[in-house]
Symmetry: C2
């Protein structure tokens, strides 16, 4: 009999609430013969304050045993900026070599967008997850003086760029429109830009059916609000991907519905799935958080594990739920989770 | 008698057309006793192809003699990406220490925005212009092999950050709402992020009347499309400023009306004013380009030279012209310039 051995990291703020609903829908959608084992891990602000730890080697060893990881949210104003981000979120992405950071954007019927004219939005961003300006390379000299110099080094390797570009081409090839856009800033960041552009063009030769284009990151933000329908698959660097996926989430229904996967396609380490939104401490514990982004992250998790039919059932349930929200009173976190759990079994 | 000694760089594509209209409006708005001397310089794709030169030391010496520089656009698909950007545009910003890159965003009545509900948009971005990831620091090893490594180094100094942060605080203090937002990514780029944040907080103590806030660059793109009215003055790093000002232009009427100044507030070198848009080779020479962004850049130029009343006359003329465009047939580049020239004298 088959089974999923899942690590669950509720984390901070609304993390616990949304993860509860994510697991509810996951349990509901799984076939009878599929066993779901979950183990909860305590990471985030509480543990940091209690022990000073964010993510230890022992933690990584334990997490490594799982098939996948579901994360709610990490981050709290009581912890200095950067401590949990670098010490937990990025440490995990780097330790488990999550080089494909997958962030789909779909504007579903019934969902509000800040853009006029309800444009057709259906694209996926493949953000590189282990290189670029996120490596933590750099440093500070003469800190706190008028002569301070602080550097940040963006590190880009042919190895790292090629594997994520290949992943993106494969995804583009599998979609009906077969279009891939490289987003970078190769006219200014010429060292990294040339590497990205050359690798992109080399791999493109192997995918004659995929239409390709190159867009500077600044221009990409314009297109995301003026003609988002032009995008199908986007591949980009870690920092540019961070920026444009928040904008993409904003135009396609907000971070309440934006899901993401931190994927290691080789399977050497478990992949991690999480909503794009943060811990939202202002509404934590009130049952106000929308668990939809977490539920959609569960769908990405299932697809990653090869359970495509179940992933599609969740996505269809979410689409139907969103379409029926128009004009209805707001529901609680649990009510939305319950409704989705019913739909995926129905 | 007073005079302005202006360097004019039409550049590539639509550059010549829009600069002609910018100069038309400038001549019209200047007081009788103000002499305008202009000298045209040949930079861009044509000269690069003819001579291999982008911007020589002799060019810089010549440009240095002027009170200010008006630029149309630089860039052409016939030149490899990066050559004119790094070899001309960025070289000039660095050589003349244009550390305040000023980019106002106002959604004027009658102007189309891709956002619903015609939000109130009136803010200005103070983008650092001489540091960050734009310094050209970095390099490539093992180029073209599967072991290539390419780096880009963001260089940030207390000196460079403090002067632009001070400029932004002074601008915020002078505006009715007196609000300043720092945009960075200090939870990931912790070295540069701490420098920016610490300098920002230190200078804030000298401006008790200015309300301050900090927003991560990814979240800033969300706010720019969901609540752009929250911004008054934004100060940010060179790359983040590049990205968010294109988005800001898109939501506040498009790059057809987005002006910018590359300013050296010390006056040690002439400042340069240019539309945010590029050379648009697809519509060059057809009289289709909207010269409004260039005309608004002339207003920034005049304000920089202390001619506030004339700057305001141009801005008012543009506002009136835009308000009357609704539902009217499109006009040519020259017709728009003529109309604005008439208005500023009226
Ligand atoms: C919290 C932060 C480290 C993270 C990032 O920058 O990657 C977040 O913004 C995201 O997009 O997942
Ligand atoms: C052309 C390019 C070098 C430039 C920049 O990145 O600064 C442009 O995008 C701008 O914003 O002025």
């Amino acid at each position: 009999s088959r089974s999923i051995n899942l690590a669950v990291i509720p984390g901070d703020g609304i993390g616990q609430e949304v993860v509860t609903e994510g697991l509810k829908v996951l349990s509901a959608v799984l076939p009878q013969d599929m066993k779901l084992e979950t183990k909860e891990y305590d990471f985030g602000a509480r543990r940091y304050h209690a022990t000073g730890e964010t993510l230890t080697d022992a933690d990584l060893d334990a997490l490594k045993q799982h098939d996948a990881i579901l994360l709610g949210a990490i981050g709290d104003p009581s912890v200095p900026s950067g401590v949990l981000e670098r010490g937990f979120l990025l440490k995990l992405r780097f330790a488990f070599d999550h080089h494909v950071n997958l962030r789909p954007s779909r504007l579903l019927p019934g969902v509000e967008t800040p853009l006029k004219g309800q444009p057709e939005i259906d694209f996926v961003v493949v953000r590189e997850g282990t290189e670029g300006p996120y490596t933590g390379n750099g440093g500070t000299i003469r800190k706190g003086t008028e002569y301070e110099v602080a550097t940040e080094v963006s590190v880009n390797t042919a190895y790292g760029v090629e594997r994520v570009v290949r992943d993106a081409f494969a995804r583009a090839q599998a979609r009906p429109r077969k279009k891939l856009t490289l987003v970078h800033k190769n006219n200014v960041l010429t060292f990294a830009g040339h590497l990205w552009t050359n690798v992109f063009n080399a791999v493109a030769a192997e995918y004659p059916e995929v239409t390709t284009e190159y867009i500077h990151v600044d221009a990409a933000t314009i297109y995301l609000v003026t003609q988002p329908e032009r995008f199908d698959v986007i591949v980009t660097d870690n920092l540019f991907g961070d920026i444009i996926t928040d904008l993409a989430a904003a135009v396609s229904g907000g971070i309440g519905v934006a899901a993401s996967g931190n994927i290691n396609p080789s399977g050497a380490f478990p992949s991690m799935f999480e909503p794009v939104h943060g811990s939202a401490p202002d509404i934590a514990g009130q049952g106000k958080a929308d668990p939809t982004a977490t539920v959609l992250s569960v769908a990405l998790l299932l697809r990653h594990l090869g359970l495509d039919a179940e992933a599609t059932r969740i996505e269809d349930a979410v689409a139907a739920d969103l379409a029926e929200r128009v004009g209805r009173p707001a529901r609680s976190t649990a009510e939305i989770g319950d409704a989705l759990a019913v739909r995926v079994t129905g």
